[in-house]
């Protein structure tokens, strides 16, 4: 196809699809991402939807969006601001214009901009006509009308015809990015296999949208993002929540202990529960409990019975599970607790992300109650972190709290599919049946982990539980010295895990003017900002933590080689205060934000530059 239009080559581009919830924006965004990925782009995505299932039609509250960042270079985040904003109605434009880059492209369905919808969105005049969008490159088309028009000869009702407008606009965007329709046509064939009329209508709308752009004068430039230099292998797209579920399944398979999940639905963690429910063929036992407490308590029961037990939740659910985590700590049973963090306190903002449960994970229990705390740093890292959290929990006989967050859980990125058999092996310390020397709290002298004996095993009957027990024998005891000993042993067991985890890595030089410190889901934004500044010659590096309790053994050494340290978190300073407590010899600067929004690369760059100048 020869086209006289200018093609602009881009390193990376951010596209956001927005519309009324029910306009099919999640699907549109997903299909665009998949086509981009298959053409070799690296990418990261993030859906942005209201807490309400179907908020009132055409209102700002009811806007649903899907953002995708694709590139020829390595992509770490779903992007700060968008280069292309596709808006299907006035409310979605109103809600999202602040995320469009000045000079960026807007693709707008002008047929939805009637007086009523404009007013409902909170505009006083039509933004397509009042000149307020003059700094943008606007591609406006009566998409709804054109879709109906192109389906005039199809045997479908008006409502179904209007519903395919998302395919029409997707076709337009494919043209805009010089992408082929092939994979999406294939998807439509599969998805609507039993519904030939709907299938044909969707295909027709997709093609019509593509052709319309091609003939439309408003589209005077198109973009091209070349293939990324991805490592060879098989790839797929994966969200953080699904990756977490898969990491847990992989750990069950490699450890030989059957997976048991006890969980209660809660946003934004529910997808892990739903995903694991699908995999009974892998032996995963999923118990949807009556509440958060029953979720974790059933998991503790399953762990006592010899399963690899997991509970998944989000902030308020972690609060409810606190007492039971203490039970798992004193019983010294393996248990993985996944907390997909959201904005709190209380119900807070369930669909918005935050990192404000760190202190709760570290200390939110009665008694001296140490548990391992880890954090995942990207959607794909959720897979590896879940696997490693499981390995630590099973091999060291301890609860592990894995912190992810809503952005990781809902966000997606490309996943280079590993061979599960190449992951590190997992060997739980199983007791030997009929071992005459078996005692419930006899410990491995190096790791201090006790042995795991469970009902059904011959010759090992014993009793454990929430009351303090004597070391080795495991008998109920209130002896003062024994309690001190057991408190020390439980803490030491967790601290010793530092001998089994990787050393803290540094992105960049090992010495410099500013060390940026982060943890968990902010890695993408932090590394992007730090790399940009490194390219400008700044002496800045990043230490991004996955292991929080215990910290990697070389943490002190890493911190000592920089003039300044700044700890960046989406909370009011929880990790920084933990570091101040653990390693008070360093002076820590901090940068915090709690707006239910991720860090933007631009804001971080400004903050770091200022800190370097001061």
């Amino acid at each position: 196809m020869v086209d006289s239009r200018n093609i602009i080559e881009l390193e990376d581009v951010v596209v956001k699809f927005v519309g009324d919830s029910g306009d099919g924006m999640q699907l549109t965004g997903t299909l665009f991402s998949e086509a981009a990925a298959e053409s070799g782009n690296d990418l990261a995505t993030f859906p942005d939807f209201p807490a309400e299932i179907r908020a009132p039609h055409n209102t700002v509250a009811g806007v649903s969006g899907f953002q995708v960042h694709l590139g020829q270079k390595k992509i770490y985040t779903s992007g700060d601001f968008c280069d292309v904003l596709v808006a299907m109605n006035p409310a979605s434009l109103k809600a999202n214009l602040k995320w469009a880059k000045p000079g960026g492209t807007l693709v707008v369905d002008s047929s939805t901009f009637d007086q009523k919808a404009i007013e409902k969105a909170g505009y006083t005049t039509n933004p397509l006509q009042d000149g307020s969008l003059s700094i943008y490159n606007i591609i406006q088309a009566p998409i709804t009308l054109l879709t109906q028009e192109c389906l005039r000869d199809h045997k479908i009702d008006k409502k179904s015809a209007v519903r395919t407008k998302n395919m029409f606009v997707l076709g337009m965007v494919f043209f805009l990015f010089n992408k082929s329709l092939e994979s999406t046509l294939g998807y439509i064939d599969k998805k609507f296999k039993g519904k030939p009329e709907i299938k044909e209508a969707n295909k027709a709308a997709l093609i019509a949208g593509y052709n319309y752009s091609e003939t439309m004068e408003a589209v005077n430039i198109t973009f091209r993002v070349g293939p990324s230099n991805l490592e060879k292998g098989f790839y797929r797209n994966v969200t953080g929540n699904v990756a977490t579920a898969w990491g847990l399944l992989a750990a069950a398979e490699r450890s030989g202990r059957p997976l048991f999940l006890g969980s209660y639905p809660i946003t934004p963690a529910t997808e892990i529960l739903m995903e694991l429910s699908l995999h009974k063929s892998l032996g995963a036992k999923v118990f949807q409990a009556e509440d958060e407490i029953a979720g974790i308590c059933s998991a503790i029961g399953a762990s006592f019975a010899g399963s690899f037990a997991v509970t998944t939740t989000s902030g308020p659910g972690l609060s409810l599970k606190s007492e039971a985590i203490g039970l798992a700590v004193i019983a010294e049973l393996p248990l993985v607790i996944v907390n997909v963090q959201r904005a709190g306190p209380s119900t807070g903002m369930p669909t918005k992300s935050e990192q404000s449960d760190l202190m709760q994970a570290l200390f939110g229990r009665n008694g001296e109650c140490p548990a391992v705390v880890m954090a995942a740093s990207s959607p794909v890292d959720c897979f590896y972190s879940a696997y490693l959290a499981s390995k630590i929990s099973l091999e060291h006989m301890t609860p592990v709290i894995l912190l992810t967050d809503g952005y990781l859980g809902f966000g997606s990125e490309l996943f280079r599919i590993p061979d599960v058999n190449n992951l590190p092996e997992i060997k739980p310390p199983l007791a030997t049946p009929n071992d005459p020397g078996y005692k419930p709290y006899r410990r491995n002298p190096v790791s201090l982990a006790r042995e795991w004996a469970f009902p059904g095993m011959e010759g090992l009957r014993h009793r454990i539980g929430g009351l303090e027990k004597t070391n080795v024998d495991g008998l109920v005891s209130t002896d003062p010295k024994n309690h001190q000993l057991m408190v020390n042993l439980r803490a030491e067991k967790v601290n010793k895990i530092a001998d089994y985890i990787p050393l803290q890595q540094i992105e960049g030089e090992e010495t410099g003017d500013l060390l940026v410190v982060g943890w968990g889901g902010t890695k993408g934004a932090l590394i992007s900002a730090v790399q940009n500044m490194q390219q400008e010659g700044k002496k800045i590096s990043l230490a991004h933590f996955s292991h929080i309790m215990p910290l990697p053994k070389n943490t002190e050494e890493v911190f000592g080689k920089f003039k300044k340290i700044v700890v960046c978190e989406l909370n009011m300073g929880q990790f920084v205060n933990y570091l101040r407590m653990t390693m008070p010899q360093f002076k820590y600067l901090q940068y915090n934000k709690v707006q239910g929004l991720p860090f933007h690369v631009q804001e971080l760059t400004e903050v770091f530059n200022k800190m370097l100048e001061e």
């Binding site: 998949e34 990925a37 991805l230 490592e231 060879k232 098989f234 790839y235 797929r236 797209n237 898969w246 399944l249 992989a250 398979e253 048991f260 006890g262 995999h279 009974k280 063929s281 892998l282 032996g283 036992k285 409990a289 009556e290 407490i293 029953a294 308590c297 059933s298 503790i300 029961g301 399953a302 762990s303 006592f304 019975a305 010899g306 399963s307 037990a309 007492e323 039971a324 203490g326 039970l327 019983a331 599919i417 590993p418 061979d419 599960v420 469970f454 009902p455 059904g456 095993m457 011959e458 010759g459 090992l460 009957r461 014993h462 009793r463 454990i464 539980g465 929430g466 008998l475 109920v476």
Partner: protein, 345 residues
């Protein structure tokens, strides 16, 4: 010896000694829990499963020290959560005979939610619910089963709460098995525990237990050896509901409820007396039997309800087995490679 579709039977004959623990039993002298322990030690060898296949789970309270005093696998949980923990034990390993020791406070106050849901799901466990109508371990506060008006440490002017009737709560939660026994009748306790083990599904055995320190006499009007035959109705499947020292009193259907009659008076013969059907799926009569109270009615003892329903654990295993047979995804590697996957060469 019981036959279960999954739980292994003991290769050797077991005795009481196989289940006696080496721990000192620390309940108060005269506490009803001692007799419950004796009944468990009697019944486990009779049930005859392999001794490693028994697991005891408990919550918090006097009742919940139970696992330490019986030599099986045992887990002493946290307050109210025994039923939730035990759900996990049984679902994780359906080859176990899972027993729960819990009390009126543990299972009907702080753990009420877990009790109704384990019962509703019909998970195949056996719940021994020690009902002494008081909080014993915390030294004498009223519980959800304390009779209204009772003076306790936290109700100095008498409680103003309507108590739960355990049977009503269990059957309201779609319970498939409910039995009642009293702690001064070890034989009856042993019998109903055996029946509980035999039942597929959640078996709730309410044991009217005496707390000699804080609620002494809570059950005396029922327990009294002199009058017990007049105030207790011992139910037997297939037999008429006859009670009384002279075996001349009985239960009949009267209007929309039950009534007490004397055989030989007003033309009543044995044929008019209701015959107990513990296996009836319709819970209407079971509910009325469970709610019978002094002074109008005798208190029903024995198995009130044992209705056959599918169990959660059987259905769960069936789904897993079917999925294993039919699903394309048989390993995590299969899973990671399913769906939209492409190769970068």
């Amino acid at each position: 010896m019981l036959k279960d579709k999954r739980i292994q039977v003991s290769p050797t004959e077991l005795t009481k000694e196989d289940f006696v623990s080496d721990q000192m039993v620390k309940w108060c002298p005269g506490c009803g829990a001692h007799a419950i322990l004796a009944a468990v030690e009697n019944v486990f060898p009779k049930i005859g499963y392999r001794k490693e296949n028994f697991a005891f789970v408990s919550g918090i309270g006097c009742s919940s020290r139970f696992p330490y005093y019986v030599n099986t696998y045992g887990f002493h949980g946290i307050h109210g959560r025994a039923n939730a923990i035990a759900s996990g034990v049984k679902i994780a390993n359906p080859d176990l005979s899972v027993w729960i020791a819990t009390g009126d406070g543990d299972s009907m106050a702080i753990g009420g939610n877990h009790l109704i849901h384990i019962v509703r799901r019909n998970i195949d466990v056996n719940i021994l619910l020690f009902n002494n109508q008081i909080y014993g371990l915390t030294k004498g506060q009223f519980s959800p089963t304390t009779p209204m008006g009772e003076v306790t440490k936290t109700s100095p002017h008498g409680t103003i709460e309507h108590p739960f009737i355990t049977a009503g709560l269990i059957m309201g939660a779609q319970g498939t098995f409910f039995a009642r026994a009293i702690d001064n009748n070890v034989k009856l306790m042993t019998e109903v525990m055996y029946e509980a083990a035999k039942h597929d599904g959640t078996s709730v055995v309410e044991i009217l237990q005496n707390c000699i320190i804080f609620a002494e006499n809570a059950h005396t009007h029922i327990a009294n050896r002199e009058t017990k035959e007049d105030v207790q109705l011992f139910l037997k499947h297939g037999e008429p509901m006859i009670f009384g020292k002279n075996r001349n009193k009985g239960i009949i259907l009267k209007g929309t409820g039950l009534g007490v009659v004397t055989i030989g008076e007003g033309g009543i013969t044995e044929k008019d007396i209701l015959v107990h059907d513990q296996y009836s799926k319709d819970p209407a009569i079971h509910r009325m039997l469970g709610r019978m109270m002094q002074p109008v009615f005798p208190v029903a003892m024995g198995v009130i309800r044992s209705a056959p329903y599918l169990t959660y654990d059987d259905l769960h295993e069936e789904q897993i087995n079917n999925a294993r047979k039919t699903a394309k995804i048989q390993s995590v590697n299969d899973l990671l490679r399913s769906g939209e996957v492409w190769e970068i060469k």
